[in-house]
């Protein structure tokens, strides 16, 4: 949702399917490169990381690349926090989870 809102605010296109379909062009500037570093950080992929980093620096510059690494790190943190505390799941998000094939417990749905 925030991705769509951001693209509208900046008047840049985005294809939301690119979040979970690597064959889909995100359309955003540097979208392929940003998605690749997100994968490399989240998966601790030491082989892919140097190549993904170089490509991203080439696409957005060093300052932007550092920000991307920080955002990836931040979400590694937030994902763990929200999963570990059992943040109740908004039923609207549950539909999205079903579509993406993400496992969750129905008992964890918010009323």
């Amino acid at each position: 949702m925030f991705l769509r809102e951001g693209s509208l605010a900046h008047h840049v296109p985005v294809d939301l399917r690119a979040v979970d379909q690597v064959a889909v062009d995100p359309l955003l500037p540097a979208g392929f490169e940003l998605r690749a570093v997100a994968d490399a950080v989240a998966l601790w992929d030491a082989e892919e990381m140097p190549l993904a980093r170089v490509a991203l620096v080439d696409a957005v510059g060093e300052v932007g690349a550092v920000r991307a690494m920080a955002v990836a790190g931040n979400y590694g943190m937030m994902n763990r926090v929200l999963d570990a505390i059992g943040n109740p799941i908004d039923p609207r998000m549950a539909a999205m989870a079903d579509e993406l094939g993400v496992e969750y417990s129905r008992t964890d749905l918010a009323p």
Binding site: F2, L3, G6, A9, V12, V14, V19, P26, P29, G31, R35, V37, A38, D39, V41, A42, L43, W44, M49, P50, R53, V54, A55, V57, D58, V60, E62, V63, G64, V66, R67, A68, M69, A70, V71, A72, G73, N74, Y75, G76, M77, M78, N79, R80, V81, L82, D83, A84, I85, G86, N87, P88, I89, M93, A97, E103, S105, T107, D108, A110
Partner: protein, 216 residues
């Protein structure tokens, strides 16, 4: 165009990181070394060590914290998406205070942020800090209560109050979030530019969450 020769070799190495990131990271490292609400500095550093070992598949326990604490740290580190409320209840039955579990979540998740950042920018993982002496403070927010999550929160559970039962961890989470991503005040600003444009940051956020199987 991608660089060649020395330029490419340079890019393959460590990126230049502004001081504002490092100030926050070093503050969190110092925070880790100090006593928290439930754990001593030595135990907090040991919790981080357990989390790092789990990440690389090292099953050898440090022996520096109780088994239930080590188990919680390791689960949050690598399989938070598999945690269920029954499992948290079992931790509590085995003697782990729910707010102590919150402190573990805070420590391990911030470690993930900082280690992930260092890995991304091409730095080696930093050495864990030397623990400071002292006893746990026992400080919790008396306003925290059962609100539908598996841990007490101040108000209905959501990302901004996820760790609110333990004030130091609540504040630390927000400090990292603001420095690495955006502050709470910046959340509604979809036109934000912070080294990247907001949708570029959100693409990284969404993809990371997908890979981590987290859809909150």
């Amino acid at each position: 165009m991608l660089g060649t020769g020395n330029e490419l070799e340079s890019l393959m190495g460590e990126l230049a990181v502004r001081d504002d990131y490092d100030v926050v990271i070093e503050r969190d490292w110092a925070r880790m070394a100090r006593p928290g609400s439930f754990f001593s500095g030595a135990e907090r550093v040991a919790i981080a060590r357990e989390a790092r070992r789990e990440r690389i598949g090292d099953e050898a326990r440090t022996g520096e914290v109780a088994a239930v604490v080590a188990e919680a740290a390791r689960a949050v580190s690598t399989r938070a998406q598999q945690i269920r409320h029954e499992w948290v209840d079992q931790l509590v039955e085995r003697g782990l205070d729910r707010c102590a579990y919150v402190e573990i979540i805070g420590l391990v998740s911030r470690l993930e942020a900082i280690d992930g950042f260092d890995f991304g920018v091409g730095r080696p993982l930093r050495q864990l800090p030397a623990a400071e002496p002292g006893e746990p403070t026992g400080v919790i927010d008396a306003a925290a209560s059962a609100n539908g999550a598996w841990v007490p929160t101040v108000g209905p559970p959501s990302a901004p109050v996820a760790l609110s039962a333990v004030p130091d961890d609540h504040a630390a989470l927000h400090e990292i979030h603001g420095a690495f991503f955006i502050t709470n005040e910046q959340i509604p600003d979809f036109g934000l530019v912070k080294d990247l444009i907001r949708p570029q940051m959100e693409l990284v956020a969404a993809r990371t969450s997908l890979v981590n199987e987290c859809f909150y």
